[in-house]
């Protein structure tokens, strides 16, 4: 691991006394004035923004990262409790529409330094090589302007920095992980047993949860609250994997700063910085370059809210691409009932996964595929699952009292990119007076076929493991797209290096640039794409 420490010292900059935050590092943080022309200001400190800040601070750039939410302290701010973790999510108002509206909040949206990775489960699979050319291969989705080969070295780097634990991975581009797989709990045990009995390959991992000490980060304690923020510092989020190193190299993190618009000079055609509100005061940070990393809803919303004479329909929106091709994965969850006690809350929800059904199967009527993973919902989420079956009253209570006997699997189905699935501005305004996002989503036939196929496989696995009853609810997971990368400005918002086509010093470095999503959880790919963009930026100078 020596090589990792030489290029990213974050894990060694955390305390080793049982507390989780290096307050000295934060207190001593470099602070810039709004009037300083910094090299780069980054909007959003999640997977993309934090990786960019760390990489460029390391190269000596003067960088400031703004985040709408807090600079978390896991000891004081996070709880080992489901309902009490509400503040980890982006819960500012949003409107959802379309024939298949997608709930937001806890499902997919983070707020605060670390972003959604603070409450993501922890799965960090790579995309497959085929994900980068679905249009050429299958006539669906889109081709990326970069290939898997372009990303591979960045995948390897990030996997070491998080670090990722898992078995040798046989799918996509076969690879191994820096850490050994974790032991599994009841839910993982059932998935492995059912998969084996039905001839399906399943593997333990890949999860960004430290299996063993990593720097000053301790071993996982298997308490099952990964989705509520890891109080242990075992599960990776940029708050502990990239921000400490960025601070040590002179980056500033300005928390509780809501960016309301991108500054733009009509004469030069360049971005000039960002307008933001902090503590109720409207301010403007000057910068030589701007990177937006607000994720698939807020990034398009910010661009649309940054209209000007040059961009009457929203910044970078000359070809009506901003906000379009937004994707979620179909994520049906199938649960099975066992006479034995499973107690699925007693381990990280992310344990075991299978990518056997990831690729297009020419024998099937649909294109692309799905993956299957353990999910292990806690009681409130499980109650939603049960209520979605129509149970209420004494029936609901009786069902819930059976919680310890249930095992739960989730699929990630590759829903296809469609132009009509998009963010627009709603009439409603937020507390800053800015129009909120309206996210419209409708499924196509291929999406629906994938969901049912995934449900069938999950039912097969659970029955093979000995379940006497199975139930399924349909839901969604993750977000990508909305400001995608493309070969040219008529088909996307940024190029393969994440630079916007319309403004030479404006970058987008988050999940919104992904043209397709595969059946993989997106965090690792968002970080890898950003690390690649950072290398390009650093090589090109300021």
């Amino acid at each position: 691991m020596a090589a990792v420490r030489e290029r990213n010292e974050s894990a060694w900059l955390l305390p080793n006394d049982g507390s989780r935050t290096n307050h000295r590092l934060r207190d001593d943080m470099r602070r810039f004035a709004d009037s300083d022309l910094v090299d780069l200001v980054v909007v959003g400190c999640g997977a993309g923004g934090s990786t960019l800040l760390q990489r460029l601070a390391r190269r000596g750039w003067q960088v400031v990262g703004l985040d709408a939410g807090p600079f978390w302290d896991p000891d004081a701010d996070w709880v080992s409790d489901e309902a009490g973790s509400h503040h980890l999510y982006w819960t500012e108002p949003r409107v959802i529409s379309g024939t298949d509206p997608v709930p937001m909040g806890s499902n997919n949206s983070g707020r605060g330094v670390g972003g959604s990775m603070v409450h993501f489960a922890g799965y960090t699979p790579r995309f497959h090589p085929s994900d980068f050319a679905t249009w050429t291969n299958d006539g669906v989705g889109a081709d990326w302007p970069i290939s898997y080969r372009d990303l591979r070295p960045y995948y390897e780097d990030i996997e070491q920095e998080l670090p990722v634990a898992g078995e040798d991975w046989p799918w996509g581009d076969p690879h191994s992980y820096p850490q050994r797989p974790h032991p599994v709990g009841g839910n993982g045990e059932i998935f492995l047993r059912g998969a084996y009995a039905s001839g399906i390959t399943a593997k333990v991992g890949p999860v960004a949860i430290s299996n063993g000490r990593f720097g000053n980060r301790p071993h996982c304690i298997y308490r099952g609250f990964c989705l509520q923020g890891c109080k242990v510092n075992a599960k990776a989020s940029p708050l502990i994997t990239h921000i400490p190193d960025a601070l040590a190299h002179g980056a500033e993190i300005r928390a509780n700063a809501m960016v309301t618009g991108i500054g733009f000079d009509e004469r030069t055609g360049r971005a000039t910085g960002v307008h933001y509100i902090c503590g109720g005061v409207a301010r403007f940070q000057r910068a030589a370059a701007v990177a937006i990393a607000g994720y698939s809803i807020e990034t398009p919303r910010l661009l649309l809210n940054s209209a000007s004479r040059r961009f009457p329909d929203g910044m970078c929106n000359d070809f009506d691409q901003v906000g379009r091709y937004l994707m979620v994965q179909g994520a049906p969850q199938t649960a099975g009932r066992f006479e034995a006690e499973v107690r699925m809350y007693k381990s990280p929800p992310p344990e075991v996964s299978s990518e056997q059904f990831y690729e297009t199967d020419p024998r099937k009527p649909y294109k692309r595929g799905f993956s299957i993973q353990t999910v292990s919902p806690l009681p409130i989420t499980w109650a939603e699952h049960v209520a979605a079956q129509g149970h209420w009253g004494a029936d609901l209570r009786r069902y819930m009292s059976d919680y310890v006997h249930w095992s739960c699997l989730g699929a990630l189905c590759e829903f296809l990119a469609q132009p009509g699935n998009r963010v627009t501005l709603a009439e409603e305004k937020d507390r800053y007076g800015l129009p909120v996002a309206n996210f419209s989503y409708s499924q196509c036939d291929n999406d629906k076929q994938l969901t049912r196929a995934a449900q069938g496989v999950m039912e097969q696995i659970l029955h093979a493991a000995g379940a006497d009853e199975v139930i399924t609810i349909d839901r969604y997971a993750h977000l990508v797209g909305g400001a995608r990368m493309a070969a040219d400005e008529q088909n996307g918002v940024v190029d393969g290096n994440c630079r916007s086509f319309a403004i030479p010093n404006l970058y987008i470095t988050d999940g919104s640039v992904l043209p397709t999503q595969g059946s993989a959880n997106p965090a690792l790919t968002i970080m890898a794409v950003t690390a690649r963009a950072a290398a390009h930026l650093a090589a090109g100078g300021r």
Partner: protein, 226 residues
Amino acid sequence: MTARKARVSGPAGAGIAPRISDATGDRFPGFNVLDQVSHWDPVTAGLVLSRVGRPPDIRFFSPAEEATATALCDRLLGQDGEPKIAVIPRIDARLAEQETDGWRYADMPEDGQAWRESLRFLDEDSRAACSCELARASVEDQRAVIQSVQDLGVKDWHGLNAAHVWSLWTRYACTAFYAHPSAWNEIGFPGPAYPRGYKNPGTDAREPYEVADTRPSADPLGGKDR
């Protein structure tokens, strides 16, 4: 055996989180998550204990809305006898503070308004069916009024999508109920787990303070042992 040991090690739990009126047949006898408070981190313990203390005063609902919401949520959650978990003050507090889930359906008003309107419509339905407001109707009649909304599926209910209303009610009600330690006792879930974590994961494996289900065959779908 395990249950008795847990009680002895932390008798404080039983007093402050009484067992709620049981709809499930007490499958985990003697299990009380609050017996383990001393093993929780102080921030989490403070939050969870605040839920068993005096609930916040009603600020959002009018008295009439409070009455209708109480009848609705008691029926949704099967709280047909005392003692109960006080979910209405928690829902009221969320609505007063606009602590939403971070989204609303485009065909629904914002959550607070949607609660007010839907409670009014419930009373209208109740007056039509039983000649009185929901809170004054018999428990059976209340169930029938509520059932008729669920039966609509995605169809129109007083100008609202009935399924979206149902989702709103059940999300708020289930979150308030299953955040409470007394509800965790009923389902065998030990609640917070930091900094101790778990040492015995796996099927049919328990921590010393977890209590085995006394009726493992009570499959809610199988119709056995109901």
